[in-house]
């Protein structure tokens, strides 16, 4: 027990240092130039952070899921895009770790991931599915000699050009129904990415997520054995919502800290005076604490359900719970950042002051679009018809 606690702490400490010393320094340039946070990812690689969640028996550090979530929060406090790249990678790693079902190819792959600190991107969204990850159009087509191939039109592939591997959802075969999906892992060299658009967005600019046509040919053993429907409910969706919400909390916490620093400086200039900004800061603290409470309880419930009986995560009431986390956190995070802007005023609005929160606001505004909240509400509306205790 102590070993794992020590390991978690060492990992969090490493990420904390990287966030403060590397991610923070490059955050403005990453944002301004919409460029990949190469320095942060290189530093994370050097500390073996990309494989931290891989279990010890496969060579990884085997840190807890809570530690991964904590790392997303730490990075989020200093560079939202770095945190998002890290979170998305960890979503893929955790998905593979939880669903490899002793498949030898995937066990070997995780060992390689540890040795080479490979970065995984995901190709889950698809043009023509209306944002529904539970349906695919592209399929694994047989290519002879134990090989398969696919071509998928993806509206966004985050950091695809910088990833070593891609995890792609596809229909199991050309005659499979849209919901009969599998996950396929391909290496650079097995797949090609043909960009279909540019990348000049409002926020999360360093994630470098243009649309792409993804084409690949691969040995069939690179198909994850577990059916994607299970992978999605038990891991990919709740883990995405938890890790994303942790980094949104990180961004919002930094925006709050900037507002607090601003108010403290103002208070020191005018000792004894009642400052309107100080009242606004107090109001903002309650908004932030609502966000924090939702994010932390979501994590706790996920860890409990995973430890007791993972199939509980497939129950509709549980699906609703983690969908709710995503909706609540994605709406609350930009609200906190906008509140911080209200506290700081013009110096928060300007991009080059210690109190600038423009990037925070823009980064968190992407939250409601990452799997559109509208889409999640549609799912929830349907599940609410039948779920009992929510």
């Amino acid at each position: 027990m102590n070993v794992s606690v020590d390991q978690d702490q060492a990992f969090i400490d490493d990420v904390h240092v990287i966030a403060e010393e590397v991610a923070a320094k490059n955050a403005d340039a990453v944002d301004r130039d919409a460029r990949f946070p190469v320095e942060t990812i290189a530093a994370l690689r050097e500390k073996q952070a990309l494989s931290a969640f891989v279990p010890g028996e496969l060579g990884g550090a085997g840190v807890s899921f809570e530690a991964i979530a904590g790392a997303c929060y730490e990075l989020g406090r200093h560079c939202g895009a770095s945190a998002m790249v890290f979170a998305m990678h960890q979503i893929q790693v955790a998905t593979i770790v939880r669903h490899l079902d002793d498949a030898p190819w995937f066990e070997d792959y995780l060992r390689e991931l540890v040795g080479e600190q490979r970065l995984i991107a995901s190709v889950t969204s698809e043009v023509g599915t209306g944002g529904d990850m539970a349906r695919s159009i592209a399929s694994v087509e047989p290519a002879g000699d134990g090989l398969g191939r696919f071509e998928k039109q993806a509206p966004t592939v985050s950091y695809g050009a910088y990833a070593d591997d891609l995890l792609t959802t596809l229909r199991r075969s050309p005659d499979a129904e849209p919901g009969d999906q599998v996950c396929v892992l391909t290496h650079k060299g097995q797949h090609t990415l043909e960009p279909t658009g540019s990348w000049d967005p409002l926020g999360m600019r360093g994630t470098c997520s243009p649309g792409n046509v993804v084409r690949a040919e691969l040995p069939l053993e690179q198909i994850l054995p577990t059916q994607f429907a299970r992978v999605m409910n038990e891991s990919m969706v709740p883990i995405s919502h938890i890790l994303w919400s942790h980094l949104w909390l990180g961004i919002s916490s930094d925006a709050f800290d900037r507002a607090r620093t601003f108010v403290r400086a103002a208070a020191k200039r005018k000792p004894g005076e009642q400052l309107p900004a100080a009242i606004r800061l107090s109001e903002l603290m309650s908004e932030l604490s609502l966000l924090r409470a939702e994010v932390h309880s979501g994590l706790r419930e996920f860890v409990e359900a995973s430890a007791e009986d993972r199939s509980r995560l497939s129950e509709m009431a549980t699906i609703l719970r983690f969908n709710n986390l995503k909706i609540a956190a994605s709406e609350q995070a930009p609200r906190v950042c906008q509140g911080a802007l209200g506290v700081c005023g013009i110096v928060g609005f300007k991009n080059d002051t210690p109190f600038s929160v423009g990037r925070h606001l823009r980064d968190t505004m992407s939250a409601c679009l990452m799997v559109a909240n509208e889409r999640i509400h549609q799912t929830n509306a349907s599940l609410l018809l039948i779920a009992k205790e929510v």
């Binding site: 539970a134 129904e177 497939s314 349907s382 018809l385 009992k388």
Partner: protein
């Protein structure tokens, strides 16, 4: 019971195939039942059999085949009889 389940499925599952061509253990999701349609199947079953599925049963594995639905319904009836 199986015939009644098939009736509910044919009314609500919106399968691209005739439900009569499916065996009791055929995977309904693989046959094309979407999660949205599956909720309508659940509502239809609750209505037809005058039962309520508890949350622990409201998951994909319980509704993936005619056989698994029948097993869940039998379990609920046994519980109600006790």
């Amino acid at each position: 019971m199986h015939d009644e389940i098939r009736q509910v499925i044919s009314e609500h599952a919106r399968l691209p195939v005739d439900v009569q061509t499916l065996s009791d253990d055929a995977d309904l999701y693989e046959a094309g039942m979407t999660s949205h349609a599956s909720v309508n199947v659940m509502l239809g079953l609750e209505d037809r059999f005058d039962i309520e599925f508890p949350d622990r049963m409201l998951k994909r594995s319980v509704f993936e085949s005619i056989g698994s639905i029948a097993a869940a319904l039998s379990e609920l009836r046994t519980e109600a009889a006790v």
